[in-house]
Symmetry: C2
Subunit: 592 residues, 2 copies
């Protein structure tokens, strides 16, 4: 697999973009006309820089509005092209993207269009240049890849082929199976982009909301399968117009982009039974091993965990690290840091084969996390997520592995508990890469998305999970003006009312819930009055669906972290989304 | 005119929202169910707070999914309603919004819908409550205000009327003229929202992109005319769901919201020849009087203006303020500040009647700007724009007014120049209120919008101007991660090539333009080679349309300000939008 990225995907100047693309491991680039124009470096300098960086200039793009025009306009077009062909000669690239006419086309006649494309290709041939003709989704007369291919066939020039762009094809709902009817060597180029399922005009959707593969809703594995089965052997090139990536750090975005192609190639190969481009299998985790909080003084959590009924299992024998458990829910308090603000520093997952998962993650470009281990201690395989959170994988039964390194506490017999979910908040500009990481490295899938109106803006929530629900990561995208949202650990227990009552007796300050919330509950659900009183007394949230119920409560926030205790009854599978606005408002009020 | 605002328009907790609404001068509020639920204050406390603040609770909203359901669901609905009616009793409000069923409707039968609405109204009547039934644009079976009104007629209950929402009607392109067929006293409520022209699904458009009147593309003056001619006499109430206003400062947003209603009522009265609610006439300015820069040391601008060929007209006789002119383009350098970073501090406009414009601005809630004046000095009428920029109005010919207060410089005879436009950059969250201010207070109209891909994100540009082009304010919305964008003053002259050549001889450092830009110009336009060389030599930008040409160049940026010199040939009416990405990239490179 050869990989490429269009310079328009990245922020900054052209030289920065090229350096970032090379650092991320791309083999080549598509150079956007506008990026070259804005550069002080000459085409010769850009060519030499790419050569030094080991980047092939795969394509120059775009050249617009060629076919379907009157003769005078076509003569102007050929004049425009001469200058661009000269620029391409200086850049040392021989392939130019021509996209179907969306601006000047007035003649809806395939014969005229094919003749003009043919003449255009002949002029290009005189300069040793090849043309990749692409149907824009909003082309005036040509907006279907099958139509573009018919025109290429009709023009019948050896240096004229087609360019396929997943966005232009999938956004219109066109069946990509027809791609297999195109000979692979006539597909001159392939551009890949994912996108969220949005119901809006194609141009705005395309220009602002494209995503890297694995972040959106397009069936790209299926799409790429068709292209490769057609015999296409050129690079997989990303062309992602996205308002966010235009302003995020170019090096980080390039790495993120590169990961998306590795993931896509692997998934496509897996779906087709091909060996090439396969990574180790993407085996989803079977559960949470632990969640680690870090901070220079985590004493408030020791107190809070005691109140919640967690057991202190002891301190680590070599490090200022403590372990608390509630059944199989394990929370590690790590004070090996000078950071005063507590945060969720790491998440451990139980997996069938940690070495395989780690190898896969490495190939996907995830860096290792340094963790000091002493002789005889269990080594956990780990990588850092893009936001710095450590991820650990454990394939040894917990009781036989790192837990044995903790001593001085007491046994935790009889308690039934497990980490239900870890809620991770992100700055809006870090959200898409986090989704891709969860998808590609953690092997989680997108389950649902929701919007929660909070007191300081709308929070977008996106749940990544395993099919069986053993691991759930609700991911929240914060409003642009808001600080980094708090994160929280939700622990599932068998009787949350009992846990809440005991915690209150032990003096835990719950997040207080407005009485008006319970008046609304009474209106929404026909609850037993005694039960409603119990919810009200204990500041418990409640939700119900057809087949199940959800009862939960929240601790105060310490630093950037709080805890939630939940109980799921029946087949309730959500997170109490209806309660989230109340919770956000209550937390804001608690901050004062 | 009675005014109201839905609490959902504003950020924060319910008490903050109510306080901000009162401070902005609203007469009443619509209380959103979700805002009450998230409040610790009881309904009785909210009622008492509103009474103290002088706010009427005009409506409680929304109650969903009443009509078109099976009997069991309807029984549940009546149960839900009992509890809400009790909450309304405690709040002391008697009007509830019922929006057409978008969730549970299964029966597409007007007889069933009318019967259920009637029974619902009867239950409400027993609690002394009135129902305002509204067609949601995405209602399952009822999504047209005319259909909602037919159902209200069929149900025929005295406490059942209709609610009209401009978004739900105009977003679907329904003709609002039919509103005049509804008796005014059966229109129980009116909700107003503007919106940009977007081609996307109605629900997303409505939930995220509504705007206050005067900021979007809806013909709201026409709409409100129909409603008032129908005889509606209730409040004009804003219901604006907008992702930005959910996170902006509640006090500022409330003031901004209130201004939009004053503006809308005035424009509607003007269009219909009514006296009530009229402000002083909205007379557009006839030209720029001056632009004022402020900073503790503006010497770099004295040097730059000299190089550009401006004349030093002297210092103010009482203040550390200097005047420079290029024909009728006047730039004031004001050093009465400790701010080290120079900025565009004020803009003066020439108007036919400054007192009328000032009176209008005051009624629209714009605060006065303090300006120290000594005896015998000209007093300029002024207000502060929402971002703090001072706006001045002058109806005395410049040469007879404040210019006479400057002395010690030289005359500026023969130079032909004028301020062409002032380009104002805004943080994204301050943009909509700036558009409304330009529209309502400055009497400018929206001419065009464009998107410019910059090196650190997409910049949205929106031009506000007078019809004759004498005053033009291109307004730029910065990417969310970007700092406040620089602002600039563009001065139009008769021969920009000569100005550029002279400036270069005087040592001005121009913004350098990449050679690749000129290669592209050659490809796009068949320019005379000598002219192209001249553009290249002098770092001039060029643009061309059917009937005109535009030549322009930029100075370096000092603090947050730079200057542009432009020449318009023929009927060129734009701003060189195609050159903006190059300029943004060059300015970023110049910052290093």
């Amino acid at each position: 697999m050869r990989t490429s990225v269009a310079t328009v995907c990245l922020s900054g100047g052209l030289v920065e973009k090229l350096q970032a693309a090379a650092a991320a491991g791309f083999d080549g680039v598509e150079i956007m006309d506008a990026d070259l124009q804005a550069a002080y470096e000459s085409p010769e300098e850009i060519r030499a820089l790419c050569a030094r960086l080991g980047l092939t200039i795969e394509m120059y793009q775009p050249f617009r509005d060629v076919e379907g025009v009157d003769d005078a306009t076509f003569a102007d077009t050929l004049h425009r092209a001469e200058a661009k062909f000269d620029t391409m000669r200086r850049l040392g690239t021989d392939l130019v993207l021509v996209c179907s006419n969306a601006g000047t086309a007035t003649i809806d006649d395939d014969q005229v269009a094919a003749r003009q494309l043919g003449e255009f290709a002949d002029l290009a041939a005189a300069h040793g240049i090849r043309i990749a003709f692409e149907a824009l989704a909003w082309g005036r007369f040509v907006n279907d890849y099958r139509h573009a291919w018919r025109l290429v066939q009709a023009a019948d020039r050896p240096n004229l082929g087609t360019c396929l762009d997943s966005f232009h094809i999938l956004s219109r709902g066109h069946d990509p199976a027809g791609i297999e009817q195109i000979p692979g060597d006539r597909i001159f180029f392939l551009q890949l982009a994912d996108a969220p399922a949005l119901d809006m005009d194609l141009l705005s959707w395309s220009r602002h909301h494209r995503l890297f593969p694995g972040e959106g809703a397009f069936a790209l594995t299926d799409f790429l399968g068709h292209v490769l089965r057609a015999g296409y052997s050129g690079p997989l090139s990303l062309e992602v117009f996205n308002d966010t990536f235009r302003q995020t750090d170019v090096v980080r975005t390039a790495a993120h982009a590169r990961r998306s192609l590795t993931w896509l190639a692997d998934r496509t190969a897996a779906a087709n039974g091909w060996d090439a481009d396969r990574l180790a299998d993407a085996t989803p985790p079977t559960g949470f091993d632990f969640v680690e909080l870090a901070g220079s003084d985590l004493t408030p959590f020791d107190a809070m965990l005691t109140q919640l009924g967690f057991r202190f299992r002891g301190s680590h024998r070599t490090k200022p690290v403590r372990l608390w458990t509630f059944g199989d829910a394990r929370i590690i308090l790590d004070e090996q840091t000078r950071d005063e603000v507590p945060r969720v520093a790491g998440i451990g997952f139980e997996v069938p084969d940690a070495a395989a998962v780690e190898s896969r993650a490495r190939t996907l470009g995830a860096p290792e996390v340094y963790r000091r281990t002493h002789a005889g201690e269990h080594h956990l395989r780990s990588v850092a997520a893009p936001d710095g959170t450590a991820v650990y994988w454990n394939d040894t039964p917990a009781e036989a592995s790192w837990i044995t390194e903790f001593a001085g506490g007491e046994a935790d017999e009889g308690a039934v508990g497990v980490v239900d979910h870890v809620n991770l908040g992100y700055r809006w500009q870090d959200f898409d890469e986090a989704v891709l990481f969860a998808n590609s490295v953690l092997a989680l899938t997108t389950a649902s998305a929701a919007e929660v109106p909070g007191p300081v803006g709308l929070v977008r929530s996106h749940v990544m999970r395993t099919d069986d629900g053993a691991v759930r990561l609700p991911m929240n995208l914060a409003p642009a003006t808001a600080p980094l949202p708090d994160r929280h650990i939700a622990v599932r227990c068998a009787d949350v009312v009992a846990v809440a009552r005991a915690a209150r007796q032990r003096g835990l300050e719950f997040l207080r819930i407005p009485q008006n919330y319970y008046d609304d509950l009474a209106a929404r659900f026909a609850l037993d009055p005694g039960f409603l009183d119990e919810l009200r007394e204990l500041d418990l949230f409640y939700d119900r669906t057809e087949g199940g119920e959800f009862i939960h409560f929240y601790t105060p926030t310490v630093g950037g972290v709080f805890l939630e205790m939940v109980e799921r009854r029946g087949d309730y599978d959500g997170y109490g989304a209806a309660n989230a606005p109340i919770r956000l408002a209550a937390q804001r009020a608690a901050r004062g």
